[in-house]
Symmetry: C2
Subunit: 332 residues, 2 copies
């Protein structure tokens, strides 16, 4: 049985979508058990609609919530009855396989570090979303867990990302590139230049030089490495710009003659493409380098996003992802 | 007479658009003289179409070109007969007022530093493009001249940007924000956190905290400060994402029923909005902190972009911008 814990509180939506997503996932997989952590009456009320899966669902009560505005580390330390802290403790104490949360990102990362812990040899676990470029999916890491990085961290990100990509997308020797402001070897700030040298000298990864951030959504690449500050800047700029462009286009179009005969259709196309840039809706971002499969889904996840995250966790567990990381990654 | 030097070679287009833009600008302004530097026969051939402005145009011959692929510092040192080096020397030796180039950005910055020189007290001049957000124009600096910055540099960028914004847009006490991954005071990497404190303690600027990069195109702000690596990452991500989103939308739309009755119209709207995100087409980016008005226009500038850059240089000169910087900026 694969056991996955769901933190059902702290997201922007009620637990309704989480429960719906959970039921969708259970339908697919006969050896999946889900542990739903949160306000038990609310969860029960939702679950009543889908009682036929009850034998593979367990509810663990938690009556406190870590809000988006809470200071992450403080919240983890003081809100012991929050759904997130209770869920993380369940994961560790019962030796379950994975956790998914839609709550406060900072608190999730802090909680995973403190309660789940790092894999031996990993200095800085990295937040690793999957982005959907025009040449396919790629991983960006670190996307925000470590705002100050050393050269060694880049190397670890490259190794972690390679094992992850290989497991998730069944590709041997994923192509790793370094996020930069140009493709030439001598581009970048001082730490990025040093990282380039280290990455070039590493035999364990398939390093293919710099990727210019301008082309990140359009170039063939599997794993893009950068420090967490740059990664977060990049991710948020992609999100912000895509929303901004679409909203301006909508504005221009609504003022044009165009609108009156095709308005609804085009708005539908727009919202479709907007979702492509919201990495958080895309299966969730894994926190790579901790001892369990820990996935952060968007606070605004609908049932399909939740199901995607569960499917991802299930797949990674089935392929012994964590053991693979522990075994292969830091043995020289 | 206002004397502005135009480097007519090294851009992606021929000198045709440059000459056309020059003529447009001369038409507007009776006290403007333009010094066109480049292959004289080519420039003359173009100019013949507009001979009536000949008395306010001077041609200075230069037969070498710094290409986009040339290593910037080396090119400035060795290509003494290149249009850029000749143009910069004209600017300094004849004490002209401004220079505009569409060539190799790195070479332009290096040339301005070596040949024009920094204003006394300025540590690191900053590349400062104007971006057109939904709440109006704002300046982003440094956008790429300094990939490794110290805390003091942020303060200088804020002061330089404020004087520049004030001069260009006639606004007292422009609002300065610090580019970051969140709005809270404690957000960012270690240097950004320190910069926040320094900026908060400075009475000479109107600092208003962090701006989250996700909202940079949609928030009311006048001057956004960051280090040159982050700024360049941000700028290129904005450009790359907007192109990518538009190209994907085009793809989706061309496959839809929509296309057959409104295809041309929508493509026109798309190219209009795409231009909004190409900062390099927008009047050019000034290199702030050197002793002359030095403006980098996009390599692909058309005649209107060239005219915009000339107009900008003319306005700044008329308002004694450089003297203002020298007088007010670094006197305590």
């Amino acid at each position: 049985m694969v056991n996955i814990v769901l933190d059902c509180m702290g997201g922007e939506n009620s637990s309704q979508d989480l429960v719906k997503g959970a039921v969708l996932a259970l339908k697919d997989k006969r050896d999946l058990k889900l542990i739903l952590v949160g306000e038990q009456n609310e969860i029960k009320r939702e679950l009543e609609k889908y009682s036929f899966y009850a034998q593979r669902i367990e509810i663990v009560h938690a009556n406190d919530i870590i809000f988006g505005t809470d200071e992450p580390v403080k919240a983890i330390r003081t809100k012991k009855n929050s759904s997130l802290v209770v869920a993380l403790n369940e994961l560790v104490i019962k030796n379950y396989d994975a956790i998914i949360s839609t709550g406060n990102s900072g608190a999730f990362l802090a909680g995973c570090l403190f309660i789940v812990g790092r894999i031996d040899g990993v200095n800085r676990p990295a937040l690793s979303p999957i982005l959907n470029g025009s040449e396919g999916n790629f991983i960006l890491l670190d996307a925000g867990a470590n705002v100050d990085c050393k050269v060694d961290d880049y190397l670890q990100f490259a190794k972690l990302g390679s094992v992850y990509y290989k497991t998730l997308f069944d590709k041997e020797e994923p192509v790793v590139k370094l996020l930069n402001i140009g493709t030439e070897e001598n581009k970048g700030n001082s730490i990025v230049k040093k990282a380039y040298v280290e990455l070039s000298n590493c035999n364990e990864i398939n390093f293919d030089g710099n990727i210019e951030v301008r082309n990140i959504m359009d170039e063939k690449v599997d794993v893009v490495v950068c420090d967490g500050f740059i990664g977060n800047i990049t991710l948020k700029t992609i999100e912000g710009t895509s929303k901004h462009v679409i909203s301006r286009l909508k504005g221009d179009i609504s003022k044009s003659n165009f609108y009156k005969f095709g308005g609804k259709l085009i708005l539908k196309l727009f919202s479709k493409i907007k979702d492509k840039y919201d990495y958080k809706k895309f299966g969730g971002a894994i926190f790579l380098g901790v001892k369990k499969i820990c996935i952060k889904s968007h606070g605004n996840s609908n049932e399909f996003a939740i199901k995607n995250s569960i499917d991802m966790a299930y797949k990674l567990h089935s392929k012994n992802f964590i053991q693979d990381l522990q075994k292969n990654l830091f043995v020289k």
